[in-house]
Amino acid sequence: MDTFNALLSGFAVALSLQNLMWGFLGVTLGTAVGVLPGVGPALTIALLLPATAKLDPTGALIMFAGIYYGAMFGGSTTSILLNTPGESATIVTAMEGNLMAKRGRAGPALATSAIGSFVAGTIATILLTVMAPVIVDLALKFGPAEYFSVMVLAFTTVSAVLGASPARGLASLFFGLMIGLIGLDSQTGQARLAMGVPELLDGIDVVVVAVGLFAVGETLYIATYFNRESDQLEKMKGTIWMSRSDWKRSWKPWLRGTALGFPFGTIPAGGAEIPTFLSYAIEKKLTKHPEEFGKGAIEGVAGPEAANNASATGTLVPLLTLGLPTTATAAIILAAFQQWGLQPGPLLFETQPALIWGLIASMYIGNVILLILNLPLVGIWVKLLEIPRPLLYAGILIFATLGAYGLRNSWFDLALLYVVGLIGFLMRRYDIPVAPVLVGMILGPLAEQQFRRALAISQGDLTIFLRQPISATVLAITALVLIGPPIWRRMSARRAAGAPAAKG
């Protein structure tokens, strides 16, 4: 039982007073930013990057992971009480959950999402614990060619497969890859795309890009287009506890949601939107109370909430074992590893077992803390929703500009921040996804490095990517996910067009 021993020593790390404190701070911050509309885990972690560079990586990473999955807990509170998703992954919760709150059942809605998140988070962490060593064993056989192929798969799924439009997703990805190019080439030390600007030789910092897109761009977008109607905050009435029938109707959706969310997080397909929507559709089909759907059915809250939490934890599997980020937040956590010179992947399990297993163990503890923070103490977080919107966004911009300026005390970074903010504004306005920018920017340079290494080994022979069995398989899957969905869509469209004709 190597894994078990590794996990036990991980608990020894995670239970040290200092790391417990970081974990507690992380999940508390995570809940807060999850609750606050307009602030997400990606933005929060990006803002904390410069300030944590001198800290012990284990503690800081425990805090970052806590922010990530803590935000999934907190996001549901906003969705239920405000009908504005606190997090994009909690859009579905906003539908049934808010309707429950309108009928005076805010308490059970909050309870089923908090307990469901806990169940899903804990099961997903167990699965992470069991799966990570298996994937690490496989990944140890990876050479540069395999890594490059897996990264291409991640690029494809993150940009082209998910989301409304492959063209817009890929445009976003290439834009991110371009940002990643700026600065000195890691192998030859030559300046690329720096245009003679000395500030650009160091490259564009991920903090500026993340904060520009998520804080400045988002603020401009909300102020310009969505500042007319005011939000309706539902009151918390009655009991917070769930009745016997609530429990009976919740536990199966929790488990089904977990079963959907975890694999979606694990495969390099990122994002919790798809599994939460799938979970909602399945619960709607399986429920014994179909009449309640559309009026506030507890199953429609329990399932999707479990799914988004399981998927967030699932995202850490490719991140920790292969160094592959598949969401914006995971990309920023990868950037966090890099600021201490650490590269997540199979080797990190051997060189830094205390860090990796301490991080995994901290997630078991974090989920318990989150259950307490989000169930008995939910009233505190509701107070955050009463902050008037002008003050909330004004505060967000104070932190945003601080994050960019604090990097090297240069107005240049603030100018860059505003330019990225304008781009983020346009991306929101024209429905271009932003996550691929971050994944491309952070993963792009690593992919290029692996590509060049692979070709150095093969002496310039490009077929190396197809001759290695693992690499070839991964590339075949990539081709399949890229061309499969459009063909399938066209065929089903033809079938739909053909059906009425056959009837007539």
């Binding site: 834009f175 190019l181 795309l193 003050l391 004004a394 310039g460």
Partner: protein
């Protein structure tokens, strides 16, 4: 629901911008000296690929914009009446903050930014905003300089604390 015009100028402009950006990347890449070293691939290949990718995406999106608009764009009525005044006020806040932070210091620049952003969001209570901004700016300043070891410009408070 709103109907979409056949040719969407904003979408076309962004598409052309992507083509221009891609072309620029390809053009700039020619200035990178091709040194191979021990690797077979120099520093030029990826910039070329990325430039081509950007231009291609721009071309596809441009074609979509000309033939009925981008595909699968959610129609949002809010997009019909943008509040450009709010946009201008918040932009002014961010730009002014950038201009003055060097000599006015973090605290004063942040207070100005806070008041302007709140105004952009429709706040009509500048005094309340300024008081909250002052408290927040001081707390954040001390938290990040004394607590987390960041260096921030003090402006007129230089030597005061």
């Amino acid at each position: 629901m709103t109907t979409r015009a056949r040719i969407h100028p904003g979408e076309l402009a962004i598409s052309l911008g992507l083509v221009a950006l891609g072309s620029f990347v390809i053009y700039e890449t020619q200035n990178i000296a091709e040194t191979q070293g021990y690797a077979q691939i120099g520093p030029r290949l990826f910039p070329y690929l990325i430039g081509v990718g950007l231009a291609l995406c721009g071309a596809v999106l441009g074609w979509e914009a000309l033939s009925g608009g981008w595909r699968h764009v959610p129609l949002d009525d809010a997009h019909q009446e943008p509040d450009w005044m709010a946009f201008a006020i918040i932009s002014a806040g961010v730009i002014l903050h950038m201009v003055i932070i060097g000599w006015a210091g973090f605290i004063l620049a942040s207070i100005l930014l806070f008041v302007l952003v709140a105004r952009g969001f429709g706040s009509r209570k500048p005094v309340r905003d300024a008081i909250i901004a002052t408290i927040l700016a001081f707390v954040v300043f001390f938290l990040f300089t004394k607590g987390l070891g960041l260096t921030l410009p003090k402006g007129p408070f230089e030597g005061v604390f």
